[in-house]
Symmetry: C2
């Protein structure tokens, strides 16, 4: 710290992303990336965009990409906001919808970036305590919050709720903005996007990083009433006119247009997840029923941290959160069948 740091810079507690090892020798099951590459059409789009035109600024409004997203979800273009990954989209939500000193509410066990944003933007937060089997106690949310953040499925548990639960929340608190983070929704949960036509207090945030295999290119989006989107645009355009580069815009557009590849890849990941869950169960793990591309697991005899360390030594990275209530759990991303077979083998060896 030095005399030039603002109070904010001193007081924040930055997010620590999962390890991105440089040596590449690991089976990476730690950051919920898709084990399959994006659609071949994405590579075609990247190649087409790799031209002398990279000297020119991108479209600041990313109209082509917004239209593609709007087509997919059958919403209007002005109901779509795009950003540099859903993390940036969520970050923009804070100054756009919450004033310093306002309170937002989210589960105590959830995406650990939420409290980080809150501190950065001087927003207070109140958590609702997940039940012991990790369900979100929807009845515990109160109208005192200016915003409610609910990941569906929740992370790192993978548990999803039906849109009826979201709709009930929207009806109970019509003056509270409900932000549903659907980063993992495509792997088996139900999206709340159709509800945006009926509720102006709903913003749904999604990403190209997981189900569309584009974590490396940084594209996320929000869908909501055009009044909400307009506010997000105002904040984004007061921060950085061009948040998504030319190549990423075209790549994401191609990714969302290729529905066939999308559903095929999803199915593979879901099948591997179900198979892996069964195998882990057989090895004495408790496995939370997941609607995401990861499994949240705990072993009856061996401590999570011990498994985490041993797997790392064996060349497999998973995620362990040193946090109250979940310190004995691991979040394991679904990789290819081969990745998961290797994982099961290593775990079996540990059990002997």
């Amino acid at each position: 710290m030095n005399r030039f740091w603002s109070k904010t810079a001193s007081n924040i507690n930055p997010y620590v992303p999962g390890e991105q090892p440089h040596d590449k020798k690991y089976i990476k099951l730690n950051t919920n990336e898709n084990p399959y590459p994006p659609s071949p059409k994405v590579f075609e789009a990247i190649r087409r965009e790799t031209s002398a035109d990279v000297r020119l600024y991108p479209d600041p409004d990313a109209v082509g990409l917004k239209n593609a997203i709007a087509r997919f979800y059958e919403v209007d273009c002005d109901e779509v906001f795009v950003g540099n990954g859903s993390d940036e989209v969520l970050a923009f939500c804070f100054p756009t919808f919450f004033n310093p000193g306002d309170t937002v509410s989210f589960p105590d066990i959830t995406y650990s970036f939420f409290p980080v944003y809150s501190r950065l933007f001087g927003v207070k937060y109140k958590t609702v305590r997940l039940t012991d089997d990790f369900f979100i106690p929807f009845d515990d949310f109160t109208s005192s919050a200016r915003g409610i953040l609910v990941p569906n499925p929740n992370a790192p548990t993978g548990l999803a709720v039906g849109t009826d639960m979201i709709e009930r929340l929207l009806r109970r608190f019509p003056d509270t903005l409900v932000i549903v983070d659907e980063a993992y929704v495509d792997f088996g949960a139900c999206s709340s996007v159709p509800l945006i036509k009926k509720y102006d207090n709903l913003l749904v945030v999604q990403t190209f990083s997981k189900s569309r295999s584009l974590a490396g290119l940084r594209v996320g989006y929000a869908i909501g009433n055009n009044g909400l989107i307009e506010a997000l645009e105002r904040v984004k355009n007061s921060f950085n006119s061009y948040t998504i580069d030319r190549i990423a815009q075209k790549a994401a557009e191609a990714a969302i247009d290729d529905k066939e590849y999308f559903y095929k890849t999803l199915k593979r990941v879901v099948n591997t997840r179900e198979y892996t869950a069964q195998k882990l169960n057989g090895l004495g793990f408790t496995v939370i029923p997941s609607k995401s591309n990861f499994l949240f697991v705990s072993h009856k005899d061996i401590k999570a941290e011990e498994i985490f360390i041993k797997l790392r030594q064996e060349g497999i990275l998973v995620r362990h959160f040193k946090m109250l209530r979940i310190e004995n759990w691991l979040r394991i991303t679904i990789g290819t069948d081969d990745d998961m077979a290797a994982l099961i083998e290593k775990l079996k060896a540990m059990m002997i």
Copy 2:
């Protein structure tokens, strides 16, 4: 506006970037892009990075890119911060170094994003009035500001000062952070980067968008004392872990490593600038001596807005700011020799 907008969302006044026409029929001299493509090595790097690995997150610390920048400037890696264009880097500076209610100071005629950031982050600003021939009156800066922002060369005038002026500022106000925005420095001005070793109150911001022809890929950076850089990292990591995608990181790395191509391209732009300035002079324009890749010009008989509109009709885009004191000036980006010949022809026809 609706009931969910924060005070910030309601009060800000977003930046309006120069037009990015979709039809592509214009000669674009309006957003200071480089008329030449980036180094061939950039395209090689992009092609190499276009692989299944786009499914994986980028390096959140962009170590390869930071090292390349550090090598070029002969500074240490922890003296370099990278972001999604220099606009994002400048945006991060506000919450990192200034508290809401603090005052920052910058010229009254300068990059028009500065007041936009100030409003977004609740920072007050005090401008110093450029002389009538557009020089920055350095003596008018006072110690009451927590930060001073000086573009060198200034925009949209293109006028540069020597680093002696910057150094004097750093010595006069050792407890004020001086941010020098060097977006255009490579086209003929002197960089203050070497001063960072001596002054811990200096942060120099640069970009790959202009001299390195990568506006489309969004990479900017800041160089300064490691205490300043650490604070920027904290804020960035509380906002978005991965601001620069995989392809952009590698492209920028290749761009900064190819010094030969860089200096060759710069020379071409500078030669065209000097030639164009002479021609415009001959047509009755006042031309401010520019150290950037644009010219700031005013005609003795014809109003700037009229020229702007007529050029647009003729397929040439230049930038006109409807702002007090410069409403009779145009900012014209230096294009290829052919672009500028076309411009001169159209202007000549107007003069008849």
